[in-house]
């Protein structure tokens, strides 16, 4: 991004000058996250979550690589190899619990990051590409997490794999052959375990690549901000370093505090006891549930109980489950309001806080519960609202609502008056 007032990289250290001449990596870092990247001065703590997501990914990669030194991806020994890690490997229990709860932390952070995007209209032009790349990252994360959960080969690992790969069987005509191809067999077994291990190891690095694109795409227009008003003058911004490196430090400390509390004091709080039972293809657990971060989607999947003409309910559920994520790709065109931030969109805000958030919370609760009649009923109503919110309500609201007047600039919003001695220069 070329804000004309951005600090220029001027290394004083002769070694750094030499390095920068041969390979401009120092300059690149300086301009991306250093003092050379101007960022709106009014970002709130919701803007910390991108960096936190990157940190969470690093935690998963480091703990994952180290665990892979001890894990045996063979169905007869996989479960025991995890117990070997927990009992005999030096600090193995810490690595396993960190990796297990790190996945939950990753999703907590990413969901908050996504909700920031939804509320502040970060998906609106010119940042649609950032949004789309982010959704790709989210899909890759879900695939990675799903395959990772299968690896310990517990009851939930096996039966979760069975249910989710079974969904592919719902696709008409080609469904069953695709399912068999995915599994390498007729049910999850050694073949599935081995390929899931390979892909689980690979995908985080694909995610890393997409993250690079995601941040690159962001740095073209630069970060948005809570007012949704674009940067106009130098007074609207501060250099990323030291202002936001300092703020990210606070965010990191809170992140690791929460992470440490989970890992050391409640390591199995977010997990399922059934996964401490070795996989048994002959005994179905009382309640097959995926990990908590999949619960809203699981609820949508199970909400479809009635066939529609020639479409079986099972297929409807699968289509709806994927649609619930894919519809987010179209958000920039569904929400056509010229005002980005929810702060200045009172009607949008109401539907966000009283409609969308409670609905997703309810869907999450239903997804983790036994599929009793009343739970299914509640999920049907909640899922109906979910689709209506994005596909019907948002497009209508964005056309008819009266927005609050926007501040003329970030500086005005922050300091209470227009920037002084500065001609309004549009950012390039």
């Amino acid at each position: 991004m070329s804000f004309p007032w951005a600090n220029e990289y001027k290394p004083s250290n002769p070694f750094m000058r030499y390095m920068d001449e041969k390979l401009p990596l120092p300059r690149f870092v300086y301009n991306a996250v250093g003092a050379g990247y101007p960022v709106p001065r009014n970002l709130n703590y919701f803007w910390n979550f991108g960096v936190l997501a990157g940190v969470a990914l690093m935690v998963q990669i480091v703990t994952g690589i180290v665990l892979a030194m001890h894990f045996a991806a063979e169905s007869t020994v996989a479960f025991s190899s995890v117990e070997h890690v927990m009992r005999d490997v030096n600090a193995g229990w810490f690595l396993r619990y960190a990796h297990m709860n790190g996945a939950s932390m990753f999703f907590i952070v990413v969901y908050t990051h996504i909700f920031r995007g939804l509320f502040y209209g970060s998906y609106k032009p010119p940042r649609e590409m950032v949004w789309h790349l982010g959704l790709v990252i989210f899909l890759l994360m879900m695939a990675t997490a799903f395959m990772g959960y299968v690896l310990p080969w517990g009851q939930m690992s096996f039966w979760g794999a069975k249910v989710i790969t079974g969904l592919f069987g719902a696709i008409p005509l080609v469904g069953e052959p695709i399912q068999t191809w995915l599994l390498g067999g007729f049910a999850p077994d050694n073949a599935a375990l081995n390929r899931f291990f390979s892909l689980h190891f690979l995908l985080p690095f694909v995610i890393l690549g997409v993250i690079i694109l995601h941040v690159w795409a962001l740095h073209i227009p630069g970060s948005s901000n809570p007012t949704g008003v674009e940067v106009k003058t130098e007074q609207d911004t501060v250099p990323f370093h030291p202002y936001y490196t300092a703020k990210d430090g606070v965010g990191l400390a809170v992140f690791f505090l929460l992470f440490a509390t989970l890992v050391f004091f409640a390591p199995n709080l977010l997990g399922e006891p059934d996964n401490y039972i070795p996989a048994n293809p002959l005994a179905t657990p009382a309640n097959i549930v995926p990990e908590w971060y999949f619960w809203p989607f699981y609820a949508i999947l199970r909400a479809f109980t009635v066939d529609f003409l020639f479409i079986p309910a099972k297929l409807l559920g699968v289509l709806a489950m994927f649609a619930s994520i894919l519809l987010l790709f179209f958000l920039p065109w569904l929400d056509t309001s010229a005002v980005r931030s929810g702060h200045y969109r009172p009607l949008f805000r109401k539907f966000f806080w009283f409609g969308l958030i409670p609905t997703i919370a309810i869907l999450g609760y239903c997804g983790g519960s036994h599929a009793t009649d009343s739970i299914v009923l509640v999920s049907q109503i909640a899922a109906a609202y979910y689709f209506a919110h994005f596909l019907i309500i948002l497009p209508i609201i964005s056309r008819v609502e009266t927005t609050k007047p926007l501040p003329t600039s970030i500086t005005e919003a922050v300091l209470g008056h227009a920037p002084l001695n500065a001609t309004l220069q549009p950012a390039e």
Binding site: V66, H70, H84, V89, N90, A91, L95, G249, F256
Partner: protein, 191 residues
């Protein structure tokens, strides 16, 4: 006046900057250092996890029963996942080993140095050639014992004598004697 004040609220005055920044930077340095300490504290288990795990360390000792090994016989067994040779030397072999001249040996050692006091007939060595790691022949019944009556490595021709000392061939050192103790007259604990 107003505009001046507003301009100033946005940046520290020049005068205060020098001393002020140095004074105030302490907290920044403290926070960064704490982060560094934390990072080291986390890296330690990451490195330590590669050290042998508890089950590997538990198999670090092996008991060997000597009752069945008659003079002239040897057994091949496993110690720390590697071959171990336990040989019951005959009096002839003991004499040979004690007679051999140390001068001219690549790795001079007496038989006494390589066995336990009063039990020089028991030769306990690793079964790993010190050249490039092959398993020498000579422990099992009928195997070639080489020119010096001890062990012979078929890979590159290293020949060991009755005290498993290297006498001919490319191996640089004698067969390694692992730490061991006699737990009784008929059993040893290796490692």
């Amino acid at each position: 006046m107003e505009s001046m004040a507003s301009l100033m609220e946005d940046s520290a005055t020049a005068g205060e900057e020098q001393g002020g920044v140095r004074r105030r930077d302490f907290i920044n340095v403290a926070a960064a250092s704490f982060a560094g300490v934390g990072a080291v504290a986390v890296v330690l288990p990451l490195i330590n996890q590669m050290n042998p795990s508890a089950d590997v360390l538990a198999e670090a000792s092996t008991e060997v029963d000597l009752k069945a090994i008659l003079p002239g016989q040897a057994i091949k067994t496993i110690f720390r996942k590697q071959p171990l040779f336990v040989r019951h030397l005959t009096p002839v072999e003991v004499a040979e080993a004690e007679k051999a001249p140390l001068a001219g040996m690549r790795d001079p050692q007496t038989l006494e140095e390589r066995t336990k006091a009063g039990k020089t007939q028991w030769l306990v060595t690793m079964g790993v050639c010190t050249h490039l790691g092959c398993v020498p022949l000579g422990a099992a019944e009928g195997e070639v014992k080489g020119e010096f009556g001890g062990y012979f490595c078929p890979c590159h021709g290293s020949s060991y004598d009755t005290a498993a000392r290297i006498r001919k061939g490319p191996a640089p050192r004698n067969l390694q004697v692992p730490p061991y103790e006699f737990t009784s007259d008929t059993a040893i604990l290796v490692g």
